[in-house]
């Protein structure tokens, strides 16, 4: 059973919200943007995990004094693919949620700043700080600042 990695919750949500904030103003088709962010993140996470798993298999092969590629037709390799797939799907799912929330709520703005995604980012930062016992206010503000910078970047890019 693959362990759900918390880094993919953080990475998936942050990456998808920030990417959507940057590209949101430039791309007229919202659904396409959500699709692109989700698919790219899914494939990226799968490939990154698979490379890591293969490297781990190679390391085990060396420890067992086996020839390179000896473990490729074993249950270990099948499990490596399964684990990478699950982590990729999880990253994709979190990215889908993050990107969809951002796209659906980007209409409500103060100046160039879409309020709901930024508040969602801040809330996520607060939740994250609870997880590792950090300063909730600091992480809320940090995530809000990240969101404001991303949306400003998107605002500038859309006017080029």
């Amino acid at each position: 059973m693959v362990l759900i990695d918390n880094r993919y919750l953080v990475l998936g949500f942050l990456d998808s919200v920030l990417t959507t904030l940057v590209l949101g103003d430039s791309m007229p088709n919202d659904a396409r943007l959500v699709f692109i962010v989700t698919i790219i993140n899914l494939i990226t996470a799968f490939m990154a995990e698979y490379v890591e798993e293969r490297s781990s298999l190679r390391h085990i092969e060396r420890q067992l004094l086996m020839r390179r590629g000896s473990l490729l037709r074993t249950s270990l390799h099948r499990r490596a693919i399964y684990d990478a797939l699950i982590k990729g799907l999880m990253f994709g799912a979190v990215s889908l949620v993050g990107s969809a929330i951002t796209v659906l709520s980007m209409g409500i703005k103060v100046l160039w700043i879409p309020i709901i995604p930024i508040v969602a980012l801040g809330s996520f930062g607060t939740l994250m700080s609870k997880y590792f016992g950090g300063n909730a206010a600091f992480w809320f503000i940090l995530y809000v600042i990240l969101g404001v910078i991303a949306s400003f970047t998107g605002h500038v890019i859309s006017r080029l």
Binding site: I60, Q63, L64, S70, L71, R73, T74, L76
Partner: protein, 90 residues
Amino acid sequence: MLDVDIPSNISTVELAEKLSRVSGVKAVNITVTDTDVEVLGLIIVVEGDGINYDEIRRVIEDSGGAIRSVDQVIAGEYVVEINKYFVREK
């Protein structure tokens, strides 16, 4: 009796269950003889009648294990006891 190395993230319980399902196998004993960060050294004793060795090897290799040596094989109508004088202590 097999001398086997497996990756340490493989469950010996699962391996024993898989081996016990091989045709001809009546009993399996897996004993960990050596532990490393990533590798476990095992002595696997498989008992039964008409054991399918190829399938045993396939199960172990499919789990990522490597059979280092086959240390004892008993076949025939009765068990041939070996004089301990001939057996070096491992």
